[in-house]
């Protein structure tokens, strides 16, 4: 009996031990989906998360707007002979391009997060008025952000200039699981969904008087509607919504002395929607366009082209040339934009998503030569140039060219150029590549992952 004691000890140890290793393990540092959307606290936090999805590197963290400039006559590919980047530099992106592949997923991540919130908040049943107001506000913001992402998807991957086209984007409005597959909608359906979201958001947020450009508010929604209608070539609505924003009173165009502060001060009067970054949450604008004063050309991904300098040399009074630097021998004959050069150590440059100047130029374009020239002149004169008279722009094509040039001068390296060329049918003319390159290819991995349910754009 005495000899058997050790074995009992060992058996006891074994039994004690067996209660230790639990097979049900939950992350102690993250939140399970089941814990979300039981109260307004988690709803508010999910909304913060939704804004954060806009700031990832592939989206407004820098790449989405910067790649648009690179894929146009504004940009030259830097970096270390990076094949994927060079494809943008040559305006001929292929479907295995890594940047496009990541961009597609990043934009849908915003859509997915918005959908999670929109569906999730249906589970909050508190009828208190305060709660209901909050629910309406969150819903409005989520719808507007979903519309922003959907529109950015449409102008990158869809035939946004042709409302009769079948090449719209997959419109996702429900919570997705791993095996969910959504086919592409038509361009008309894509626009309908975007505009419906924005209209619903507008109603939900109508009482909001705040104009903080870091958050969705009625002015942001109107500005986005103006842009969407312009792309859709619904000039009446484009002008109407642009007017709403211009007359809002919260924004004003900065004059020829003040406009550089758009890029140095935060939340200037020009900004309608500006995504803020800070040291903890840095953006990539500085590092990808400027890096440091004596950077090598390989250090910078998005180089300003010699053509852009030539463009400004033909606009002698235009002060916006000062936002470009062609003096560094490491980049010659090309140069760098200086829009993001100020925050070398902080790297917290904002993303300028919607500015009041764009509203003037949208209205200038929408109203046409006779009625729109005043708006075009508003922008030009505030940038050091002299106002144009109707005789300077004798016909519609010259006027359209003037508006297009003004857009290029104002928004270079803010992600407009490629989309502007595409929507005005100038890709083949200006860039010398087939018109089918007016849109990026759907990433090959998406065609494969959906077994061809998501179809490729023509020409790729």
């Amino acid at each position: 009996m005495k000899q058997k004691l050790p074995i009992y000890g060992l058996l006891a140890a074994l039994l004690l031990g067996s209660s230790c290793a639990k097979l049900n393990q939950l992350s102690p540092t993250s939140v399970t989906a089941a814990q979300m959307f039981h109260d307004t606290t988690s709803l508010n936090e999910a909304l913060v998360g939704l804004y954060a999805t806009l700031e990832v590197q592939e989206y407004y963290g820098a790449y989405y707007p910067m790649l648009s400039d690179l894929n146009s006559d504004n940009g030259i590919a830097g970096g270390y002979n990076n094949t994927s980047l060079n494809e943008f530099g040559a305006y001929s992106v292929t479907s295995s391009n890594l940047f496009v592949q990541n961009m597609y997923v990043a934009l849908y991540y915003t859509v997915t997060t918005a959908n999670d919130i929109l569906v999730g908040e249906g589970g909050i049943s508190d009828t208190a008025q305060q709660t209901q107001q909050l629910l309406a506000s969150v819903k409005g913001q989520a719808l507007a952000i979903r519309a922003l992402a959907d529109f950015d998807l449409l102008r990158a991957f869809g035939y946004h200039w042709d409302t009769t086209s079948i090449y719209g984007i997959p419109i996702v409005t429900t919570v997705q699981t791993a095996d969910s597959v959504v086919p592409r909608g038509t361009v008309a359906a894509s626009y309908n969904s975007i505009i419906a979201d924005l209209n619903a958001a507008s109603t939900l947020l109508s009482g909001d008087a705040d104009r903080n450009p870091n958050y969705i508010n009625p002015a942001v929604i109107n500005a986005l509607l103006a842009r969407v209608y312009l792309y859709k070539k619904d000039y009446f609505h484009a002008a109407a919504y642009a007017t709403l924003v211009i007359n809002d009173g919260a924004f004003s165009i900065l004059d020829q002395n003040g406009f550089p502060t758009i890029y140095t001060a935060k939340n200037s009067k020009e900004s309608i929607l500006e995504l803020p970054f800070n040291q903890q949450n840095q953006s990539e604008y500085n590092i990808t366009t400027y890096a440091r004063p004596d950077a090598a050309s390989t250090e910078v991904l998005f180089i300003a082209s010699q053509e852009l300098q030539t463009f400004f040399q033909n606009r002698p009074l235009d002060l916006r040339i000062n936002l470009l630097d062609y003096s560094s021998p490491n980049f010659q004959p090309n140069g760098r934009t200086l829009k993001y050069s100020s925050d070398i150590s902080q790297k917290d440059n904002s993303a300028y998503v919607l500015r009041i100047s764009e509203m003037y130029l949208i209205r200038a374009e929408a109203l046409g030569r006779t009625n729109g020239l005043a708006d075009l002149n508003t922008v030009m004169t505030n940038r050091g140039m002299t106002a144009l008279s109707l005789s300077d722009v004798p016909d519609d094509p010259t006027y359209a060219q003037a508006v297009s040039d003004e857009n290029r001068a104002e928004f270079n390296f803010e992600g407009h150029r490629y989309f502007d060329l595409a929507r005005t049918g100038q890709i083949a003319n200006v860039l010398g590549v087939p018109a089918s390159n007016s849109v990026y290819p759907i990433p090959l991995v998406q065609i494969n992952a959906t077994n061809g349910v998501v179809v490729q754009n023509p020409g790729y």
């Binding site: 050790p6 639990k22 992350s27 993250s30 913060v48 890594l98 597959v181 990539e284």
Partner: protein, 1060 residues
């Protein structure tokens, strides 16, 4: 301990007595003397010799000799020693009686460590490869897996990088990342360094980069044997984690007998195995001049042919804009030369600036011994390797203790504790922009290291735009350390409940604390704008493991039965954190995070994780007369990583063996000493996925100073165990009077429900999920043989040879034709395609150089020829080759002449391709580096080139593989098989020449040796070494890519091994 010491004094004294008084002893009675040796012929000290039927006995001396007086000429002597089978011998009038004792349960060669036990080799029915310390000792390496490189069939070990402490690509029968089990404790083996050494200029990690292995925490000197369990029959007892094979490491333990004190020391030097030769300053300028002249030529020819002003570069204005022709289209003399100041006399050989001859030192001191109750081993070691790249080193300190005690006839217990600390001063290399090798390959020879004393030359002011920094500056101004502290300890108790039934329980912990410190001084490009940058990472892991087994063993006549049953549980906890500091005082070079002007904390998705495993296991071994063998195993594993309905996985296996030579018709056959046929089939599993993938989580997200949450993952439907079904058949042979022995194996293994990233529709917001999908088949033949070629009195020559022919094929995938990029910002390099091996390279096919105009030509998707600037990668890329060898293996020859011994170990690999992506930089043929012809900039070209480009196309009629130089456009396409090379090699891996001195004053034996590691590499590969994989150790999807890998060193060492 004190008893043992006294005993060791007593032995020489008794020996002296024997020497001085032989006559007196003879006069008294008959005397028998002789030497007691083990099966290897080594003397056994302290063995007992007893006259049967009396209490009279002696013990053998330190050299194994004994002398005993016997009562009659027909006395019977009993020879015994702990751990060896006793022998009883009738003297039959002899006076000289040499005795050889066999280790209990067979000698080392005959006993294999298997999961949860040991087994006689003759009884083994699974596929197990085994290697003993004597076959890998003395190698100047930090990682045990290097020790088995080229030595075992079916196991392909690749050193992806020559960086000290590097992780290895260990592939067992085509599957990567085996489970390592050290003395019964499954050991975490992945890279624990929480920081990358591959960043792009935004400071983001660009790939897995340099991989260091936590297996380096184990001192290879401490290892007694390594067994690799290759088939399901052998490995299924480790069920859940055995799908990729199991490596069992057994460390040295004490043996009863005299205390043996062992000192092992080696010292040596290492240098670069192979130099790549670069153009000097004049040749560099000449290349650029040629490139410009050729471009003007091409323009003239194309304009002429077209009849108007046009060319692939554009019109004349483009060439004028760049400044290579004047307004009339005439070449501007010395257009580039003005920027290449040859008069400076600078002619830097950058490889010589960053590589060096570096010392390596290792010292290991141990004592082992014990008596029949208690055995011990204590040891400590210090390993100090300087890298062959300046500033780089790896140091490891380790101690180890093992004690085994036989408390009673029934109860025994013991412990093994190892502790180590390593300091890896990292060298930024292997797939990184700021890498030292990366930048040295291609730096301009006209650039000096220092532009004035103490001032690093500013790389942007010199000709090669490829550089991201001055390589010497990177080496000296990035101070990166990975410190690893590790304690592995285990205790066990064993109790014999009956003579046939044994209970064993063990408890083990594995604690690992890895901290990374990367300081980029304000002089580096990475941190210039922020005034110095420090990245700190910490990873802390703690594993505990409890295993309990019952073993029943009994012979029923000719039937032998062994039953094993067990219950085990394990828990792993990992904690990670990271900090980034920017802005440091420049005075005094302070580098602590607390000195930083600004500190931020990067987000980690799951910073704290716990995973658990509970398992039940069982095994039956049955044999009839050792002739017919049956083994069956079963393991049930429950893992916290899977959803509750899929939590348990069941892994059975069965195998049969037939020792044909034990049949009457082959009994005592002189040709067939052993012939054993084996066949097995079974299932193993894999659960190696990150924690918490079994449900949807929301993780931290920040916006405008507020904290929020956003979705972290997408949950996979029915996430479950990966399965590996293996069929194996083998033949063990021992032929011609033991002249040749070995085994032949054939296996087919099918990995199904593979765990990994599977692409999902991007409309879900995620690119991929971790789930089960796809099926991979591995099959192959393996041959492993050892021969005793010559065995005369003084001279022996033995050889061992192995060769493996393995085939790997993807049988199904959830999504076919998945492109994989070695670098997350570059074009795809590999593809996963059904019907093809994993990791097949993709690229555009190179058609050669046009003899007439020197254009590099490629095949488009229709098979037509096109120029580099006409290639459309997505359209034209196709599968171009495989990084997997057709066969690989090794040949080791051992020679012994008297006290002299010589080992020559060769290793070979045939048919594997290497994608030499870095060569696209240093064979850029004078290209400007600009992405459009018009933006070419005269003062700079992309990179300096190696001297191979001197054989390039220069004039019509030149037959060569190297295209025409071109300044304005790349006359080569990087992602093409122009840069995929034959990676076959034959290496003289090890040459070791030793001399042993016996019975020297002060110690019992001493061996002196000289050793050469990586002596010779016979290969056609153009880069440093075809044995390379720049994307690190664990990934076979992007294996075989050379992107400025840290090259392997050739090492010469001198060593001494003293036994006291």
């Amino acid at each position: 301990m004190s008893q043992t010491v006294r005993a060791s004094y007593l032995l020489p004294v008794s020996l002296l007595l024997c020497l001085f008084f032989p006559l007196a002893i003879l006069a008294q009675s008959l005397v028998v003397h002789g030497t007691i040796k083990d099966a290897d012929g080594k003397p056994i000290a302290g063995a007992s010799i007893v006259v049967k039927g009396s209490s009279k006995g002696v013990t053998s001396a330190s050299d194994g000799t004994y002398s005993i007086s016997i009562p009659s000429a027909n006395a019977v002597l009993e020879f015994s020693y702990v751990g060896f089978s006793a022998k009883t011998i009738n003297v039959k009038g002899k006076t000289l009686l040499d005795v050889s004792l066999e280790a209990a349960g067979g000698q080392m060669v005959d006993v294999l460590v298997v999961g949860y036990g040991t087994q006689k080799k003759s009884d083994v029915t699974g596929a197990i490869s085994s290697i003993k310390n004597k076959d890998f000792k003395d190698q100047p390496v930090s990682n045990l897996a290097v020790s088995i490189e080229g030595k075992l069939s079916g196991i392909n070990v690749t050193q992806p990088s020559g960086t000290p402490g590097a992780g290895l690509l260990v592939s067992i029968r085509g599957a990567q990342n085996p489970l390592y089990v050290v003395d019964g404790v499954p050991m975490l083996s992945e890279s624990f360094s929480s920081l990358n050494t591959a960043y792009n200029l935004s400071g983001q990690a660009t790939g897995t980069g340099q991989n260091i292995s936590s297996i380096s925490d184990i001192n290879p000197d401490d290892i007694a044997s390594i067994e690799v369990l290759k088939d399901a029959s052998a490995a299924a007892i480790y069920g859940a984690r055995a799908a990729n094979g199991v490596v069992l490491v057994t460390t040295k333990r004490g043996k009863a007998g005299k205390t043996n004190i062992n000192l092992n020391y080696y010292t040596g030097i290492q240098n670069l195995e192979k130099m790549i030769h670069f153009l000097n300053s004049q040749q560099f300028l000449a290349l650029t001049n040629d490139a410009i002249a050729q471009d003007i030529n091409v323009y003239n020819n194309e304009s002429k042919a077209a009849g108007y002003d046009t060319s692939r570069y554009g019109n004349l204005a483009v060439l004028q804009g760049v400044g290579i022709v004047d307004g009339n289209g005439n070449p501007i003399a010395d257009a580039a030369a003005q920027y290449y100041d040859l008069s400076s006399g600078v002619n830097t050989n950058w490889l010589k600036q960053v590589f060096r001859t570096a010392p390596i030192n290792n010292v290991e001191l141990s004592a082992s011994g014990g008596n029949d109750k208690t055995r011990f081993f204590v040891g400590g070691g210090y390993f100090d390797q300087n890298g062959i790249i300046i500033e780089n080193y790896f140091k490891r300190y380790n101690v180890r203790l093992s004690i085994d005690n036989q408390a009673t006839d029934r109860l025994s217990f013991g412990t093994t504790i190892t502790a180590s600390r390593s300091d890896n001063k990292r060298s930024f290399n292997d797939n990184t922009y700021t890498g030292i090798v990366t930048n040295a390959l291609g730096a301009s020879p006209l650039m000096p290291v220092f532009s004035s004393p103490g001032v690093y030359a500013d790389f942007t002011q010199y000709q090669a735009s490829w550089l991201s920094d001055n390589p010497v500056k990177s080496a000296q101004q990035i101070n990166a350390h990975t410190y690893s502290d590790r304690v592995i300890g285990s205790v066990y108790g064993e109790y014999k409940i009956f003579s046939t039934l044994k209970f064993r329980t063990s408890w083990a912990i594995d604690y690992n604390d890895v901290s990374d410190n990367q300081y980029f001084s304000a002089l580096t490009v990475d941190a210039q704008t922020v005034g110095g940058k420090l990245l700190e990472g910490r990873l802390n892991s703690f594993t505990w493991l409890n295993e309990n087994t019952l073993t029943f063993q009994k012979a029923f006549g000719s039937h032998n039965l062994t039953l094993l049953g067990g219950y085990t549980q394990q828990s792993d906890q990992v904690q990670q954190s990271a900090l980034q500091g920017t802005g440091f005082p420049q005075t005094g070079n302070v580098q602590d995070i607390s000195d930083a002007a600004f500190v931020s904390r990067p987000t980690i998705p799951f910073p704290v994780t716990t995973s658990t495993l509970q398992s039940f296991l069982g095994r039956v071994n049955y044999d009839y007369q050792g002739k017919y063998l049956v083994t069956a195993t079963m393991r049930a594993d429950g893992s916290s990583r899977f959803p509750s309905n899929e939590r348990f996985g069941y892994f059975p296996s069965a195998s049969l063996g037939w020792n044909i030579t034990k049949e009457k018709f082959l009994n005592d056959n002189p040709i067939f000493n052993t012939v054993k046929l084996r066949v097995s089939y079974g299932l193993t599993g894999d659960q190696e996925i990150p924690d918490y993938q079994n449900q949807v989580y929301w993780g931290p997200a920040r916006y405008n100073g507020s904290a929020g949450l956003s979705p972290l993952n997408l949950s996979a439907p029915a996430l479950s165990w990966q399965n590996n079904k293996t069929f194996n058949t083998g033949l063990d042979l021992d032929l011609f009077h033991h002249f040749i022995n070995g085994s032949i194996e054939y296996f087919v293994s099918e990995r199904t429900k593979l765990l990994g990233q599977q692409p999902v529709a991007g409309t879900t917001g995620f690119g991929s999920i971790i789930t089960n999908s796809g099926q991979i088949e591995d099959k192959g033949w393996e041959f492993q043989f050892a021969t005793n070629n010559i065995h005369t009195g003084h001279f022996t020559w033995t050889s061992s040879f192995n060769i493996s022919f393995l085939k790997n094929r993807i049988k199904s995938l959830a999504v076919d034709s998945q492109y994989v990029s070695a670098y997350n910002d570059q074009s795809p390099t590999n593809i996963l395609k059904i019907g093809k091996p994993v990791g097949e390279f993709i690229g555009v096919r190179f058609a050669g150089v046009n003899v007439q105009n020197g254009d590099a030509e490629y095949y488009d998707n229709m098979g037509h020829l096109e120029r580099a600037d006409q290639v459309n990668f997505t359209r034209d890329a196709t599968m171009i080759g495989s990084p997997r060898p057709k066969f690989f293996g090794g040949l080791t020859n051992n020679f012994q002449y008297k006290n002299l011994d010589l080992v020559i170990a060769l290793q070979f690999s045939y048919g594997n391709k290497v994608f030499n992506l870095i060569r696209t930089t240093y064979e850029s043929l004078g290209w400007s580096g600009a992405s459009t012809p018009g933006s070419a900039y005269l003062p700079q070209v992309y990179a300096n080139n190696d001297t191979r480009v001197e054989k390039r196309w220069e004039k019509p009629g030149d037959h060569t593989d190297i295209p025409r130089a071109s300044f304005l456009l790349q006359n080569y396409f990087p992602n093409s098989d122009e840069f995929m090379e034959n990676g076959s090699y034959l290496k003289i891996r090890t040459v070791n020449l030793g001399y042993t001195i016996h019975k020297l004053k002060g110690f019992s034996s001493a061996r002196l040796y000289v050793q050469a590691q990586n002596l010779l590499d016979i290969t056609k590969y153009i880069g440093f070494d075809p044995e390379v994989s720049s994307t690190g150790g664990g990934n076979d999807q992007t294996a075989g890519i050379d992107y400025a890998a840290y090259p392997q060193a050739r090492t010469f060492t001198f060593g001494v091994n003293l036994n006291f």
